[in-house]
């Protein structure tokens, strides 16, 4: 039977390869629980897998979906894909930045909201698009709609 985590039968991979293949998965698990990757947890993972912390940090710091800093309660993500870009994503981002008082990629000091940009969420038909907490997708966002959203998130 194939191994559940690696998807490969016993005996094909070395222990070392198996452990390394689990890093990304484990990091997602940690992030699911803590909302970001706390240093403590990375150290624990390093001990558990017996892989140098530097290697784990090397993977964690490379990928955009891993966060080494705490994130806000709400995550507002502005799509800056090509279609969104030409349809006014920069203006939308400006409105959100001004309302929250932070720049893209930052979290406010009360951990209320994190503002991010994403390469493309894949609904270019509705450009420009903003997502809220990875669940709610708001399409055809105008400056006014962005302002409404910003106020809603801020007062949540």
């Amino acid at each position: 039977m194939a191994d559940k985590l690696t998807g490969i039968d016993e005996g094909v991979l070395t222990e070392e390869q198996k452990k390394r293949a689990m890093i990304i998965h484990s990091l997602f698990e940690i992030q699911k629980e803590h909302n970001y990757l706390p240093e403590e947890e990375l150290k624990k993972l390093s001990e558990k897998l017996n892989i140098p912390l530097a290697d784990i940090y090397s993977t964690a710091s490379f990928y955009k979906q891993f966060y080494l800093q705490p994130r806000g309660k709400n995550v507002v993500c502005v799509c800056v894909g090509t279609a969104c870009h030409v349809n006014g994503a920069p203006e939308v981002l400006e409105v959100l930045e001004n309302t929250f008082g932070i720049k893209a990629g930052e979290t406010d000091k009360d951990l209320n909201v994190t503002l991010e940009t994403v390469g493309c969420v894949g609904c270019c038909g509705l450009a420009p698009v903003v997502t809220l907490n990875e669940e709610e997708i708001i399409g055809e966002v105008t400056k006014e709609k962005a302002q409404e959203l910003a106020d809603r998130v801020w007062n949540k």
């Binding site: 090397s58 990928y63 800056v80």
Partner: protein, 649 residues
């Protein structure tokens, strides 16, 4: 679900499903196919489907409500297709559910107000008929020029229910190979004959890739499906993974059989949660049915498929980077050779194909290479799925035969440019592609023709740009993306993209020098030859293609501090006081308080002006002029899109 142990079991299962449990044509009862692609979801289609179900239950009306993958016309979502009548309802809201159940589900009547109507008077004028609303999918101009081999599945399959796929001939291609005991070489031959080329961008012939992997030495071989669709403006693979996951799984099984692999990985972006969910469900179902695992359908063929989640790195779309990412490392590309076919993930021979490529495989095996290769052009066979977006009336997901022209895509399928503006260029192929100017849109869409005009097929994003888009800014936009996403391993890409972006930023801020154009060209050309991976090598394409076709725009930015699209904040705004009728709107909207009320005229204080063009947009009679500064001033009326300034400037 009982495990299938032979091809016969599969046929029996199919028989037991057709018409009774699965009724996609609505022969026994009405079925409502609610599009639950990402765009329609954003419009509330999931709630819509639930409400329809509830409404039907409350009224005791037998009806199948099926949540499908993307139906394509994202602009008009949420969409519902009804069977057996084949009506297409667009922009459906929850307030319509009662009527849909009462009219369509109960009595088979149409809810006419939900039909698609062409809202473009020109369309009627040119065709001199006042045709009524478009009732069915095939009546819509958006669908008429499409050829939906792969996307058709999205209309007829419930992604979360394997029975729909099987009842309509799913896994039959695999069964055909297994029951007729095809030699793996025969499968490879069939794919080679079909002329299928990789849909991920480069267009490498799939048959050759498979053959190389087959011939590579090694006990263990691996199939990888590349679903790391990182190009901004592309969502084809997503729609296949979300809407028809079994088609992908079947393609992988056949690939595995052909190259002699026993393991398959699907690498899916973390940004695609629904694709991850639907593929997981699909894998669970095929596992239960014994379509993956050991001794598939009693043939002795073993194949396992599992998911690998990407963690957000554009470079992982590059094959060598993706493979080390599966191993858990930083997604750094490595030089080729060795090619993945010789030494891929964990140094096993690996065949890595794009999602759409693999989704084509069952069709080819089922219908034969000849039928497939009868579609398309000489060197590009079959169809291609494109994500159509930008300044176009009908955005969405389309599938067209290779060899169709861009003009047909933009005007016939896309319905033309939004808001009566003029087409300026078409960006094809994302950050590795290029901008094709409006006068070249009669180019055929296939691998070779597109590269001859400086673009590439890429993964299949088509972004339409109009006169309000500044081509320098577009180039800058892509460079920003590349700079952000460059993995940093090789200096040409890491430093080159940074330098190019700096120069482009300077130009869009009106601080450019004429030498900058040569500098850009030099940087671009050295990056093309010296970058390590395909992404780095193609990264300068957006800059080179815009410089090739829109050089005059670069020169205007530099020489005259003038952006004809008025999107860079470098133009000078002046009020033509002879024409002005003193409405004062410009003063009202100016955020910088730069408009001075001089009693009998308004004057813009150039010191204070932040060039936001709020006054220009607000002026009801267009007497505020947007000008360049420098040696000569340019009025917008002297500019046309073909750039006649080229000689004069």
């Amino acid at each position: 679900m009982t495990r299938l142990t032979s091809v016969n079991d599969l046929i029996e299962l199919k028989k037991s499903l057709v018409g009774e449990r699965v009724d996609p044509d609505g022969t026994k009862r009405q079925s409502l196919w609610v599009c639950c692609g990402t765009a329609c979801r954003a419009g509330g289609s999931v709630e819509l489907a639930d409400k329809l179900q509830e409404e039907a239950k409350n009224n005791n009306i037998p009806v199948d409500v099926i949540k499908t993958g993307c139906l394509g016309m994202c602009q008009k979502g949420p969409l519902i297709k009804t069977m057996p009548d084949g009506y297409l309802y667009q922009k459906v809201k929850t307030k319509h559910t009662a009527k849909i159940i009462d009219y369509t589900a109960k009595s088979g009547f149409a809810v006419r107000e939900l039909f698609y109507r062409i809202d473009d008077l020109d369309y009627y004028y040119k065709r001199d008929i006042f045709s009524g609303p478009k009732e069915k999918i095939e009546d819509l101009p958006f669908y008429q020029k499409q050829l939906r081999l792969i996307l058709e599945g999205n209309e007829r399959v419930a992604p979360e229910n394997i029975h729909y796929y099987i009842a309509q001939g799913g896994y039959e291609a695999l069964a055909k190979i297994l029951s007729e005991k095809w030699e793996p070489e025969k499968v490879i031959d069939e794919i080679t004959k079909s002329g299928l080329r990789g849909r991920g961008g480069a267009g490498f012939p799939t048959g050759i890739k498979w053959k190389a992997t087959r011939q590579a030495k090694g006990e263990v071989k691996v199939i990888v499906a590349n679903g790391d669709e990182g190009d901004p403006g592309a969502f084809m693979d997503r729609s296949i993974m979300e809407g028809n996951p079994h088609c992908l799984l079947e393609g992988m099984l056949i690939a595995g059989y052909a190259v002699g692999a026993n393991y398959g990985f699907i690498y899916v972006r973390h940004e695609y949660p629904l694709a991850l969910k639907n593929i997981s469900i699909a894998i669970q179902q095929v596992k239960e049915l014994g379509l993956i695992g050991k001794n598939i359908l009693g043939s002795g063929f073993d194949f396992d498929i599992s998911i690998r989640e990407g963690a957000g790195a554009f470079v992982c779309g590059e094959e060598t980077a993706l493979l080390v990412s599966i191993e858990g490392k930083r997604g750094f590309p490595s030089p080729k050779p060795p090619f993945p076919a010789e030494s891929g993930v964990w140094a096993f021979p690996t065949c890595i194909n794009n999602i759409e490529t693999l989704a084509n495989v069952p069709y080819i095996v089922k219908h034969g290479a000849e039928k497939f290769s009868s579609i398309g052009t000489e060197n590009s066979k079959g169809t291609k799925v494109f994500a159509l977006a930008g300044k176009i009336k009908n955005t969405g997901l389309i599938e067209v035969p290779m060899g169709i022209t861009l003009r047909e895509i933009i005007y016939d399928i896309g319905g033309g440019i939004k808001d009566g503006k003029r087409l300026k260029a078409v960006q094809v192929g994302g950050p590795s592609g290029g901008c094709i100017p409006a006068d070249l849109i009669d180019v055929e869409v296939d691998f070779d023709s597109l590269s001859s005009v400086g673009a590439i097929m890429g993964s299949g994003g088509i972004i339409v740009l109009d006169e309000d888009d500044c081509m320098v800014s577009i180039a800058k936009y892509f460079l920003e993306f590349i700079k952000e996403e460059s993995c940093g391993k090789c200096p040409p890409c890491r430093i080159g993209s940074y330098q190019m972006l700096e120069i482009l930023t300077r130009i869009t801020e009106g601080k450019g020098e004429m030498e900058d154009i040569d500098r850009l060209e030099n940087l671009a050309k050295s990056m093309q030859v010296s970058a390590l991976c395909g992404l780095g090598k193609t990264a300068p394409n957006p800059v080179l293609s815009t410089m090739r076709y829109f050089r005059d725009e670069y020169e205007e930015h530099i020489k005259h501090k003038y952006c004809r699209a008025k999107s860079c904040r470098i133009n000078t705004y002046k009020i033509d006081n002879d024409e002005c009728f003193l409405c004062g709107l410009c003063k009202k909207v100016c955020p910088a308080d730069a408009v001075i009320d001089a009693g009998d005229q308004y004057i813009i204080d150039q010191e204070k002006c932040i060039k936001c063009k709020a006054c220009y947009d607000a002026c009801p009679i267009d007497v505020i002029k947007s000008l360049g500064s420098g040696e000569e001033t340019i009025d917008k009326s002297t500019i046309n899109l073909k750039g006649e300034l080229r000689d004069g400037a």
